[in-house]
């Protein structure tokens, strides 16, 4: 069963949607920001929350920094449980209200 997740704010939904486009893909911070359409540098608090919940895992890129000429990036990926939880949380976020709505009743002449 999917665990109850965090508050599904719009940036959180956008970040999860970015991951769910290709759940097996690993992404780093700037890529996630670009995919989600969020300003770069603002996704890390969301990623930290998701990682704390166990929805995401992260690892350092396996490269030789001298050869690549840049340091290793930190890559994030949805966990198996995180995929289900994220999908369930997004569905819940889009669930229409069940509260009764008052609608005008047509008057019969």
């Amino acid at each position: 069963m999917a665990s109850p997740g965090p508050r599904m704010t719009i940036p959180t939904q956008l970040v999860l949607q970015s991951f769910l486009q290709n759940p097996a893909q690993e992404l780093y911070g700037v890529e996630i920001g670009n995919l989600a359409g969020l300003p770069s540098g603002t996704v890390h608090p969301i990623l930290a929350r998701m990682e704390g919940l166990g929805w995401l895992t992260s690892r350092w890129e396996d490269i030789d920094p001298r050869r690549e000429g840049r340091p290793a990036r930190r890559y994030y990926q949805l966990t198996a449980g995180g995929i289900d939880s994220a999908r369930a949380a997004l569905e819940r976020a889009y669930q229409p209200s069940r509260a009764p709505r008052f609608q005008p009743v047509p008057v019969q002449p």
């Binding site: 959180t12 540098g41 969301i46 929350r49 704390g52 690549e68 000429g69 340091p71 930190r74």
Partner: protein, 137 residues
């Protein structure tokens, strides 16, 4: 292939952002932020460094919060099983609140319902495109 080193002031700025984080996480985020600056055009480096600095406190809050999270089963059992009458008929008491990492959203003070759930579709743009905005899984 060699990538040009990022601007040193941008590196200092992201290191400063990492310095505000809990000690156990500082090194990781400093390295992560600097690695992300590589390959960016200079203008984007400045923009990125400012955004990282601006969101540093939210990240700090998120890290502190997640390091002391209660077991999720406990959170579930503390939920109120019934909703107040006014909320059941759709008369919520909306209030702007923040998530642990500082994102703001509207939430009913009585039943804790989110405003995004009420209206179904997100209001902002981004990767959503028409319809419900949920990608087809």
């Amino acid at each position: 292939m060699t990538t040009q080193r990022p601007n040193k002031w941008c590196c200092r700025a992201v290191e400063l952002a990492a310095w505000t984080l809990p000690a156990a996480q500082r090194q990781r985020y400093a390295l992560e932020y600097i690695a992300e600056l590589y390959g960016m055009p200079p203008r984007q480096q400045v923009h990125h460094a400012i955004q990282v600095l601006a969101s540093a406190w939210r990240l700090r809050d998120a890290l502190i919060q997640t390091s002391s999270t209660l077991p999720q089963e406990d959170i579930v059992t503390t939920k109120t099983p019934t909703r107040p009458l006014l909320c059941r008929v759709g008369l919520h008491q909306w209030h702007i609140v923040s998530t642990p990492d500082g994102q703001r959203y509207e939430c009913c003070l009585r039943c804790e319902k989110d405003r995004t759930e009420q209206y179904g579709t997100p209001m902002a743009g981004g990767s959503t495109s028409g319809g419900s905005g949920i990608p087809a899984f």
